[in-house]
């Protein structure tokens, strides 16, 4: 992989031209955000719900991208952390009458600890062996959630039904629209935090460990701590996403957190673009909407169409959508003059 990381790029671009570009970029992001805020008022409530889920997936993918894209640890088991987040939100809301927004930080913190603890033994495993260990986690998750001694909490096979929150302060918008805006706010916060984390000293350390662990160690980076902490933070993001997703779907059940969810996350990260923050958004849109599109094309074998999309994507954009956008933008003529 020859892709230079985004933090590295940010430093290289620092300068006067960089400042101008940052201003443009800020304006573009503000416009994008405005469009995102207005979006639920333009589409049906079902589409607003789908977009809410896509936002939740984007947060999860960002978490997985930190681990896989930036830190180079493959995880096929992030569905497990998504499930933990979802179940914590559901249990706190139904059994302890917590308000929905208060469950999200708890879901994140529990997943941080779970991820850190899982990351410790995972330190010994690399590449495929780590993929197997995390895959085992994904396989075990639905079975553990159905385990009979946990049934009082998890509701066993039936799962838990959550009520949909009402918009606060008597805002004249529908529940779906409110939930979308709430999820959007959390997503923006998480993306800003991730951006700051990854472009700073810690982010450079994380990337250095991926690119050359021995050199990173020589530079004084404590690989073990950084790797397990990255695992933890990554799980935190996925847990927050799980809680948001559960609130949006209003239902959690063991079989919705199967191996396929974890694989979908990995698909989203790679299709969106490894080691890129915007890639998480592209990936989330892909895993949320492409199955529906495939279903529209062929009712008989929708997954075959999905698979064809997947393979075509990788042929055309081996570095993911974000990598494709980046190299396409670099080829624009006006971009060259501005750089000079």
């Amino acid at each position: 992989m020859s892709a230079t990381s985004e933090p590295g790029r940010a430093i290289a671009a620092a300068g006067e031209a960089g400042a101008a570009r940052r201003a443009w970029r800020g304006a573009g992001l503000a416009l994008l955000l405005l469009a995102a805020v207005l979006l639920p008022f333009l589409v049906s409530s079902y589409h607003a719900f789908q977009l809410t889920l896509a936002l939740a997936y984007a947060i999860a993918l960002l978490g997985l991208n930190m681990l896989t894209g930036y830190n180079g640890q493959i995880s096929l088991g992030h569905g497990a952390f998504y499930a933990i987040g979802a179940y914590i939100a559901a249990i706190l809301m139904t059994q302890f009458d917590w308000p929905y927004w208060a469950t999200i930080p708890v879901a994140g913190l529990v997943c941080l600890v779970a991820g850190f603890l899982f990351g410790l033994p995972a330190l010994r495993l690399e590449g495929l062996y780590l993929a197997l260990a995390t895959f085992a986690l994904a396989v075990a998750t639905p079975q553990l959630l159905k385990y009979k001694h946990l049934e009082d909490w998890t509701g066993g096979v039936q799962g838990i039904v959550i009520t949909k929150p009402d918009p606060p302060f008597g805002l004249p918008i529908s529940q779906d629209q409110w939930l979308y805006l709430f999820t959007l706010a959390v997503a923006v916060l998480m993306f800003v935090l991730a951006h700051n984390l990854l472009r700073g000293r810690i982010g450079r350390a994380i990337v250095a460990i991926r690119d050359h662990p021995v050199a990173a160690e020589t530079m004084g980076i404590d690989n073990a701590i950084y790797k397990s902490l990255t695992f933890g933070v990554s799980a935190l993001y996925t847990g927050v996403a799980g809680a948001l997703g559960a609130i949006a779907v209003q239902f959690v059940a063991p079989d919705s957190f199967n191996v396929f969810l974890s694989i979908s996350f990995l698909v989203g990260v790679v299709v969106g673009g490894l080691a890129s923050i915007s890639g998480a958004v592209y990936g989330a849109l892909f895993i949320q909407f492409v199955p529906n599109i495939a279903d529209d094309i062929s009712k008989a074998a929708p997954w075959a169409i999905y698979g064809v999309f997947l393979i075509a994507c990788m042929y055309l954009m081996p570095r993911g959508v974000a990598g494709f956008v980046q190299s396409a933008a670099a080829r624009l003529p006006w971009r060259e003059t501005k750089k000079g």
Binding site: L132, F135, A304, V308, L310, P318
Partner: protein, 290 residues
């Protein structure tokens, strides 16, 4: 005691199947350093082809041989058409292509042959040999077929020129090219062989688990675990890993926690072993140069 012996023996039978899948995985990994996630679905598809041939009135062993041939060619075609263009792509992009292949094969099989569970015939007689109560004839036959496949592969790789060329291409592609080995075709052959081994595994396991488009997902996982347990760069280790996983799964399922959690426990044990011995029981320990 008899019950335990029974569990161990039938564990060996399924272990043989895991060993075959593990071997197919190791083969592709040796050549390309990738794990073929679509291996199980390729085997499933081959088994459906065999089923269609047998339903069409072909005798079992003819269908068996023809299926192996078709799978071999199919594997080569997949390598040429789908995998070859990804030769220079990042590793994870290839993994995603494998996942794409997996869902395509699964979905197409469901579409052509429907998702209803079908029974698959066994070539071996239904009554146990010598009236023993430990192991059915099909299980014994499955172990036998696995061992024959292993022996043939060993002979092929150890004593034929083509086998040597394939090993060379996997070991050192550049030097192999210099001595005139067509490395690209060796890779395609490897895929063909892996598909053929998968087909044998599929046809041996189908009478036990029945035929449906999702039948191989669990088996692929066990095969993957077996390959890693034995060490992914060691074919003999992978085979032994397959037998260990088969026995472990059966004994754990029967005596410790029942069938619901047996997959989980088996995996936890395997991951535990790997944590202690990160490159597998018989794998080469890689020393990285600084």
């Amino acid at each position: 005691m008899n019950a335990l012996l029974h569990q161990i023996l039938s564990g060996l039978a399924t272990g043989g199947i895991y060993a075959s899948v593990a071997l197919a995985l190791v083969m592709i990994h040796q050549a390309t350093h990738l794990v073929n996630f679509a291996q199980g679905e390729m085997a499933m598809f081959s088994t459906y082809i065999a089923w269609a041939l047998i339903e069409g009135g072909m005798p079992y062993w003819d269908a068996f041989a023809l299926t192996i041939l078709i799978s071999f060619l199919g594997g080569i075609v997949i390598e040429r058409v789908v995998i070859r263009p990804m030769a220079n792509a990042p590793v994870l992009a290839s993994v995603i292509v494998f996942i794409g292949l997996l869902v395509i094969l699964n979905s197409v099989a469901g579409w052509i042959f429907t998702y209803t569970v079908k029974s698959f015939p066994s070539p071996f007689p239904a009554e146990p040999l010598w009236n023993n109560s430990y192991i059915s004839t099909h299980e014994l036959g499955a172990i036998g077929v696995t061992l024959v496949v292993l022996a043939l592969l060993f002979i092929f790789f150890r004593f034929t020129l083509l086998g040597l060329a394939m090993r060379a291409a996997a070991e050192n592609p550049v030097s192999s090219r210099l001595v005139g080995i067509r490395v690209g075709w060796m890779l395609a052959l490897g895929w063909g062989l892996a598909a053929a081994i998968g087909a044998v595994a599929g046809m041996m396991v189908a009478p036990i688990v029945f035929l449906d488009p999702n039948m191989m997902s669990g088996i692929l996982l066990y095969g993957f675990a077996a390959a890693l347990l034995g060490g992914i760069d060691n074919p003999a280790g992978a085979v032994l890993g397959g037998f260990i996983v088969g026995v472990l799964e059966n004994v754990v399922g029967a005596y410790l926690i029942g069938t619901e959690l047996k997959l989980t426990v088996a995996l936890v044990v395997i991951v535990g072993v790997l944590t202690l011995k990160p490159s597998g029981l018989f794998g080469r320990v890689l020393v990285s140069r600084v």
